[in-house]
Amino acid sequence: MKLVTAIIKPFKLDEVREALSAIGLQGITVTEVKGFGRQKGHTELYRGAEYVVDFLPKVKIEAAIDSSLLDRVIEAIEGAARTGKIGDGKVFVYDLEQVIRIRTGETGKDAL
């Protein structure tokens, strides 16, 4: 099992969600985050006070998947989230040790 985490541009969320549903993913978790990489921030000016804002708003998607789906999931995310400009984001893949469904107590692949 794998945990796939992707940081994407916020306006790409709907596209990515649809792409993941299309390959059969049942559920994902979404968080609003901020961060920066090569995409630079901006400056805000309030009367005389200047603020350099490094952080940009991003969206983090997490999905626990069966290892067999990994390649298709990565392809789906990349395809949907890409704009070609700096700041498109990254996908991280973690090994997932255990998954438990709280309602029924199922574990492992049955819980995905």
């Binding site: 805000e44 000016l45 309030y46 009367r47 005389g48 006070a49 603020y51």
Partner: protein, 498 residues
């Protein structure tokens, strides 16, 4: 100690309420501004000579009550939101509290003694005690209401309405100061300071600039000198301040700046992010200020007449011009016009036109507004850096700078040669100064003196008041409290649920 103070406060409170209820004497000698009894026709008091009981003008009274409401709205919620949106969310409620409770405190003090020491006959710097507890302002047994003079002979409004209108002025002036030391001052210290400053700076300066015997006191040439001598110090000097450039804006701005210096900068100032948390609310506040200010300025005419109309339209034009000027200035300076800039520009224009509104022509008002937009922009940028104090919400940068500018330009654009109405040179005949006799230089000098007196007086009173508060209660909250936010630590509340 705390219990003792609470009991004392309750006791005093009950005592004052009691005095209100039981001490309604027959109307005292007419309050100075009502002044129906000039020495000439004083003799047969009851056997009324030509004017019987002065007739209250209904239109003027209705307008003045409306104006009072507009000024109250300027403070709550106008100024509260304008200021509140500019601070961090952890301090939002503390700003709203400081504005609302200070406003309320000053209104009560005004009723108790403030109105009397500002607007009754006394000396050139302070009034008297004739209207303490609003004594004599109406006679509940006879059902008569003391009249207050306007600027037209024989035209009156109830003195109660005049007192209420002025109460809103006194109260909003004190709430202006709050912006300078926002996000770090103790709540109790705010209230104590405002009570002291109101007593020793607001009331006397209001008396100095605005107190006079009223048009009906000028019944004949013989009494002119005697009547003039009873006016406030700056009024006698000929200073023109229609709605309070000196009394309200410069007065409060200096108090704010002194406070910013004495209290010190916010922790993390210059290093940590202290961006406004809601410019949306700030804009709402600014809009309420603009709308309400029509009451502040046009209501200062005391009548619903041509001069109120002039003040009204000038408040409209100057503010609009100032918004444009600030936006243009910002666009030139940094490439973008901002919402905060537009809102600040509006306030800058409103401040500058305050002393000028009924004293200048429409063109003059547009110019004053336009210049004040740039002046305010400089006040919150260049001047702020020069001064080096953490005047949190730029009270001096906007109210001080634009108040001074407006006060000085009033002396310029009041001139009939520049479209202004001039001033009344002879109150016996109510004739104005002619264009030929008008000296802009002389009037600007008078304005400058009034500005100077206000700055020095307010500065000294503020310094002493802050010192007293510092030595008794302490001015500032603790570092941990400031970091956590005043909403939680001073008021036990959060503005926005997480």
């Amino acid at each position: 100690m705390k219990k003792f103070l609470i009991s004392l406060a309750l006791g005093l409170g009950l005592l004052s309420v009691g005095s209100f209820v039981w001490a309604e004497d027959a109307p005292a000698a007419p309050a100075a501004s009502a002044s129906a009894a000039a020495p000439a026709d004083a003799a047969p008091a009851e056997a009324a000579a030509a004017p019987a009981a002065p007739i209250i003008n209904k239109g003027d009274t209705a307008w003045m009550m409306t104006s009072t409401l507009l000024v109250i709205m300027m403070a709550v919620p106008g100024l509260a939101l304008f200021y509140g949106g500019l601070v961090r969310s952890k301090n939002m409620l503390s700003v709203l509290m400081q504005v609302m409770v200070t406003f309320s405190l000053i209104v009560v003090l005004w009723f108790i003694y403030g109105y009397s020491i500002a607007f009754t006959e006394g000396g050139a710097f302070f009034g008297g005690f004739d209207r303490v507890m609003m004594k004599g302002i109406w006679d509940n047994a006879a059902g008569t209401f003391a009249p207050a003079a306007t600027f037209s002979k024989g035209v009156y409004i109830p003195e109660i309405v005049f007192a209420a209108f002025q109460a809103s002025f006194a109260a909003i002036t004190c709430t202006l100061i709050v912006g300078s030391f926002a996000e770090r001052m103790k709540f109790s210290a705010v209230l104590l300071f405002c009570a002291l400053w109101f007593t020793f700076s607001y009331a006397p300066i209001a008396h100095m600039v605005w107190f006079w015997m009223g048009p009906d006191a000028y019944a004949s040439k013989e009494v002119v000198d005697a009547m003039n001598a009873k006016g406030g110090f700056l009024w006698q000097m000929g200073a023109l301040d229609f709605a309070g450039g000196t009394v309200v804006h410069i007065n409060a701005a200096v108090a704010g700046l002194v406070g910013a210096f004495m209290i010190g900068k916010r922790i993390g100032y210059g290093k940590e992010a202290m961006a406004p948390h809601s410019l949306t609310l700030t804009m709402v506040g600014a809009a309420l200020l603009w709308v309400g200010w029509f009451g502040f300025n046009a209501g200062s005419a005391l009548e619903a007449n041509g001069f109120a109309a002039l003040a009204f339209i000038n408040t409209f034009g100057a503010t609009a011009a100032a918004v444009l000027a600030w936006c243009i200035g910002e666009a030139l300076m940094r490439g973008k016009a901002s919402m905060l800039g537009a809102a600040s520009g509006a306030v800058a224009g409103l401040v500058a036109i305050t002393p000028a509104c009924g004293n200048v022509g429409i063109g003059g008002a547009l110019i004053i507004g336009f210049l004040s937009g740039f002046a305010g922009l400089w006040g919150v940028n260049g001047l702020k850096k020069m001064l080096g104090a953490d005047d949190t919400l730029d009270v001096f940068g906007v109210h001080g700078v634009c108040g001074i500018l407006g006060a000085l330009l009033t002396g310029v654009f009041n001139s009939p040669a520049l479209g202004g109405p001039g001033f009344v040179a002879d109150w016996v005949t109510a004739t104005g100064v002619t264009a030929a006799d008008y000296s802009i230089a002389a009037q600007v000098l008078v304005q400058a003196k009034a500005v100077g007196v206000t700055i020095v007086w307010s500065g000294i009173v503020s310094f002493i008041s802050y010192k007293i508060v510092d030595l008794t209660i302490g001015l500032r909250v603790s570092e941990e409290d400031e970091r956590e936010g005043l909403d939680i630590t001073s008021h036990g509340e959060t503005a926005y649920s997480r």
